[in-house]
Symmetry: C2
Subunit: 228 residues, 2 copies
């Protein structure tokens, strides 16, 4: 599979991956903010300045790690999708997202935690970031087609700016009503609020360990968005 590439190109690609692997390893222990290029270079037995041949700056390395993290989460979620029952599938995606987050807390923090000081996320990160929400929107569309999506009658229809904003989401899921889309955003933010609280230690003393709380929330949020 490396045919047609020069030895330099292969070496470069391999070393680039090794750098990212070492960075992820260090990330897991010291966190994103404390990620040190010099420590990475030490681990790889090279000199720190040599790293700059592969990543022009620390920020560029972080961007690569962020995209990889979004993709890893997207892969995990997509692997859990596609069962025969939409509700089971919903719960499976929830569980997959949580499992990935708990297995890679620092990578989770990298993408859903506080922004890294002085770091500005480039546009390249938005597409991989959208994979999981798109997955859930697709699930809801299939549920609706199967007659399994019935939002409560008392759910308010968005008006004004909110109605305007749902139009962006409608492009991703044309069949869903604005009501469901806004509820989906509420559910979406709930999921990551819950995960952040669990991973960042905010639930200690109340809902920790959060296994049962998490599945209960997953079920109740499914009902909230109209999934049955």
């Amino acid at each position: 599979m490396n045919a047609g590439r020069t030895a330099r190109e292969r070496a470069r690609a391999e070393l680039t991956e090794e750098i990212k692997a070492a960075a992820r390893r260090q990330l897991a222990t010291v966190g994103a903010e404390a990620l040190s290029l010099r420590a990475i270079s030490r681990e790889l037995g090279m000199v720190s300045s040599a790293l700059y041949r592969y990543f022009a700056s620390r920020d560029e390395l972080l961007t690569a790690l962020i995209i990889d993290a979004y993709d890893a989460l997207g892969d995990a979620a997509e692997a859990a999708a596609g069962g025969d029952d939409v509700l089971e599938e919903w719960l499976a995606i929830y569980a997959a997202v949580r499992d990935w987050a708990r297995a890679h807390p620092q990578e989770y923090a990298l993408i859903y935690g506080s922004p890294i000081s002085g770091y500005k996320a480039p546009q390249t990160t938005v597409q991989p970031a959208a994979r999981v929400p798109i997955l859930l929107l697709d699930l809801l569309q299939r549920a609706q087609a199967a007659g399994r999506l019935t939002p409560p009658a008392d759910a308010p229809t968005p008006t004004g700016l909110l109605a305007e904003q749902t139009k962006v989401l409608v492009e991703l899921a044309p069949q869903l009503s604005p009501t469901v889309l806004v509820r989906m955003m509420i559910v979406w933010t709930q999921l990551f609020g819950m995960l952040s609280f669990e991973l960042f230690g905010q639930l200690v003393g109340s809902m920790d360990p959060a296994d049962e709380f998490f599945t209960s929330a997953a079920r109740q949020m499914a009902a909230f968005v109209g999934l049955s």
Copy 2:
């Protein structure tokens, strides 16, 4: 109000506050991780080592800032509480929390963002952290006493570990049912997931600006927990 204290004690207390103020000022621009003791000392016209007379370490300064942030948020929320209508009060607390968070994004990130690498929050932070949830639980109790709290009939009653965990919360709000308490935790995590998404730029492209989305979520979460 400074009576009975020696000149040294007064000077020390004032300088301690000045250090925290400078730290907050720097926090607002560079973020918590990049907070530099030397930069603070430069701003105050003193030498960096002198700061260690007031805060034994960077972590100790951070702890002081974290407690101050929790208290500031608690003050803001409590100031918004206590209207005559419980639903209006609920919305007012939501708005106050959001306003404070948007006015102090870095302090928000300090307490609800990713944990700071190498920093372990001491036990002293949990009490100020509980002020806002206690405020909301109290509101729900008053609503229930006024017959304004009627959780939907299809809300599941927690079982197993989840039922066990609600007992901790029952001590804070003895009149509320486990069903409502779990829903309150879901709502609680939704609030901060939504805030984190807004402040950390995760809503850009969909629900940003989030004013209407936020108030819609506040209303729907009130209904979700049974408040009417």
